[in-house]
């Protein structure tokens, strides 16, 4: 069991000082509120600590994607501890490995909830792992903070969704290519599972509503690496936009083959609009292969606001200079902060009270800017369009003016 919440690092006297101050603050606070008052449901809360769980794949095929989330969650927990913790209690975490295997996720979540009695769990990445743990969280009344952008069609009282649901991400992206790039025809392309399929369904409905045209829609199995035939079709049908939701390692093959086939994304048409390639994926694809593609998401590492600059700096200090931060990593970072805010508003660690306190929680310090929890447990957020640069970063070229309301069961799009 890993319960050690921080790795010792030398040469940071200022942080140490902060921590010490935090600890004294914690001691002062805990003297006033005893564990029984803030925890009536037998969670792992003592007079000066509270235990949470981190449940991601750190082995197996998903490890490459989920590592960023683990790092972000640990960073958030360390920062919260340095500020004095939650309700005067230092957060300790127990990390479990989902091993990219859905039944293992279910097993580990049951362990975290029934054996370790954690107050909250930050975890899961794929929809499949979330679907596997959902019944467990509902049965034992746990609280899960789920970071990935996902397909929607779900709203559990036991989950706070810190990533965007599909309509938040997609509608703004399509509106932008239509307005700014005069796009009229679309080719939808994705990996074959529920997220790309649902996303493309939403995209297609929206394109129909705008009176524009979808000229092709195709799916490939996860891990597929031969995109030549679809690239030929794309060349033949000449769509204005290739709307791509290819995930994981397939992206490497897709973008390289696209480039090799002579489709230059830095030219006007066809342009690529992706909802699945974050800075993390570009590490694998190579910036030069994906240059000029547009991504529609809520966060890019290059966001210029102050919150984000501080976040990127802290992240690099903690995990190394050559690290990149993608959309999901940032969403994972929000999890512990949102939980802290809800616990403090509720004045209790009890899951029912935290749930009740959650809607309306605001975070003004989020790297992506201001976010707020909707009563449907998703976040209000802005959507940005980034243009991929050869150095692997995105340049933000557009940002929605308003926060977009999350709508996991969008009417007219199902």
């Amino acid at each position: 069991m890993v319960t050690d919440t921080r790795t010792k690092r030398s040469g940071q006297p200022r942080r140490l000082l902060k921590r010490l101050m935090g600890v004294t603050a914690a001691l002062a606070f805990s003297a006033t509120v005893s564990a029984q008052d803030v925890n009536t449901t037998d969670l792992a809360v003592t007079d000066d600590t509270v235990t949470v769980g981190i449940l991601h794949s750190i082995t197996g095929t998903m490890a490459i994607s989920e590592t960023g989330s683990v790092q972000a969650e640990k960073l958030a927990i360390e920062q919260i501890n340095a500020m004095g913790g939650v309700l005067g209690r230092k957060i300790e975490y127990i990390q479990e490995d989902g091993a990219s295997d859905w039944p293992t996720f279910a097993e580990k979540s049951r362990k975290l909830l029934t054996q370790d009695k954690v107050a909250a769990v930050f975890g899961c990445w794929t929809s499949a792992s979330r679907k596997a743990v959902l019944p467990v969280f509902e049965q034992y009344n746990g609280m899960l903070y789920y970071p990935t952008f996902y397909e929607g069609l779900e709203q559990s009282p036991n989950v706070i969704y810190t990533g965007q649901e599909a309509t938040q991400q997609i509608l703004a992206g399509i509106d932008w290519v239509v307005d700014a790039k005069d796009a009229e025809t679309f080719y939808l392309l994705g990996s074959d599972y529920i997220w790309p399929r649902t996303s493309n369904k939403i995209a297609r409905k929206h394109i129909d509503k705008l009176g524009l045209k979808v000229v092709g829609e195709e799916y490939y199995p996860l891990g597929h690496t031969q995109f030549n035939s679809v690239i030929n079709k794309i060349k033949l049908r000449k769509p204005d936009v290739i709307f791509a939701s290819v995930v994981g390692g397939s992206n490497v093959a897709f973008y390289k083959q696209l480039k090799a086939a002579g489709i230059d994304m830095t030219k006007e048409k066809p342009l690529v609009l992706t909802i699945s390639v974050t800075e993390d994926e570009i590490l694998g694809i190579g910036g030069e292969n994906v240059e000029g593609a547009y991504a529609s998401m809520k966060y890019f590492q290059s966001l210029p606001n102050e919150n984000n600059q501080a976040f990127v700096k802290a992240f690099k200090e903690r995990w190394g200079d050559d690290i990149v931060i993608g959309d999901v990593t940032q969403a994972a970072y929000l999890g512990p902060w949102l939980w802290k805010a809800a616990v403090e508003k509720a004045g209790s660690f009890d899951v029912d009270k935290v749930r009740e306190a959650s809607p309306g929680i605001e975070l003004t310090t989020a790297p992506e800017g201001y976010v707020k929890i909707h009563k449907n447990h998703h976040l209000w957020s802005r959507t940005r369009i980034g243009e991929a640069q050869p150095d692997g970063q995105y340049k933000v070229v557009f940002e929605t003016e308003e926060l977009i309301e999350p709508d996991p069961f969008p009417e007219g799009y199902q």
Partner: protein, 386 residues
């Protein structure tokens, strides 16, 4: 020395001891020493023991190495999962969907009516039959197609592996009908009975133990019968058996089907205990993992394979809880060590070192038991005469 009767025809003296020890561990020691969470995990590991048991027969005895046992495990699990999913998808609890009354994942995939092959799974008796029949029939088809053409050895292993890959792709691809990569999730009740309560977990554990012991008895029967000797003979010199007039293909098909049926039972118990089924059990990796369970335990031993499955799964959980970032290396090291140091697995190790000692103790113990019963009965007789 020789015990007689039906039991004796199934079990040697040492087998009896092994059987009793295993039954004691599973029925008494574990339930008394573990809380329900750990016991339920043990129940989950036990479902792999079904597969390992089937592999011990196929591979250890018959020399037929299948790298696709996950197929049968998965099929068995899916059959039951389909029934449970239909039960939990009644129109009331799925009212939020576009088409209420069908499983949620179908609704997400714009399917508006239940596909025809799902219909029969409203019936529980049909489902129970399907759990056994469908995987076994599938194994029979594969067996006939392969063994009659004298495909064997490494070629057969490769083909079973390909079948595992094909079935995974099929299930993931047809997500509207199968749940795709997510699998069939959120199973709640069995005939109106909550399968997620602690009580249900206890019940499933003991049902699982019962079924496992039953499968062990069947395996004992096979291994001790003439059939078992033919299997072993086939493993040693297939041509000789063929020239002696036996139809080798039929025997191989039989043992392959038996292994498939065991795996299917394991799969169905898995679905019940874990509460869902996903294609991650059908693919190549889990199928090979199951072969490893069997190899670590000892493929030549019925009991060895069962212990192998339980121990390796337990180690997997223990390592991953203690060293979440390094546990895979520990598992890898364990496998390499076992295969290098004891090619016949734990059972081989036991046979080489422990067994002689146990047999000797057993001899002594039986002797004292016999002499004491004899004196007792002599006394009794003497008493009657007076």
């Amino acid at each position: 020395m020789k015990s007689s009767g039906f039991w004796g025809s199934l079990f040697s003296r040492h087998d009896t001891l092994s059987f009793v020890v295993l039954a004691l561990i599973l029925l008494v020691v574990l339930p008394l020493s573990l809380d329900i969470f750990r016991l339920s995990l043990m129940g989950k590991y036990m479902t792999y023991a079904f597969v390992a048991l089937g592999l011990a027969l196929c591979w250890g005895y018959g020399g037929v190495l299948s790298l696709g046992q996950g197929v049968f495990f998965g099929l068995g699990g899916y059959m039951l999962a389909m029934f449970l999913k239909l039960e939990s998808s009644d129109p009331e609890s799925t009212a939020i969907q576009t088409t209420p009354g069908i499983p949620d994942f179908m609704d997400w995939n714009q399917i508006t009516e239940l596909p025809w092959f799902w219909e029969p799974f409203y019936s529980f008796p049909f489902t129970l039959a399907a759990v056994l029949v469908v995987p076994t029939a599938f194994a029979y088809l594969i067996g006939v197609a392969m063994f009659k053409r004298r495909v064997s050895g490494v070629y057969f292993a490769i083909i079973t592996q390909a079948i595992a890959a094909i079935l995974t792709i099929l299930i993931i691809g047809q997500q509207g009908y199968t749940g795709g990569v997510n699998g069939i999730t959120d199973l709640r009740t069995l005939l109106g009975w909550n399968i997620r309560s602690d009580f249900a977990r206890y019940v499933f554990y003991f049902v699982c133990v019962g079924l496992l012991l039953l499968c062990i008895v069947i395996s004992q029967f096979v291994s001790r019968s003439k059939l078992g000797r033919i299997l072993v003979a086939m493993r040693g010199a297939e041509d000789r058996v063929r020239f002696s007039g036996y139809d080798v293909a039929n025997f191989k098909t039989f043992v392959f089907c038996l292994g498939a049926a065991f795996s299917a039972i394991g799969g169905a118990m898995f679905t019940l205990q874990v509460g869902f089924m996903s294609p991650s059990f059908i693919g190549i990796v889990p199928s090979i993992e199951m072969v490893i369970f069997c190899a670590v335990g000892g493929r030549l031993s019925i009991y060895g394979s069962v212990y192998g499955a339980l121990l390796v799964s337990w180690a997997r959980t223990a390592f991953s809880e203690s060293f979440p970032e390094l546990w895979l290396f520990a598992m890898g090291a364990l496998f390499i060590a076992v295969v290098l140091a004891f090619p016949d697995g734990l059972a081989g190790l036991y046979n080489q070192y422990g067994r002689r000692h146990v047999e000797r103790q057993l001899d002594k113990w039986l002797l004292t038991l016999k002499s004491s019963t004899r004196t007792a009965s002599v006394k009794g007789v003497a008493h009657e005469r007076q």
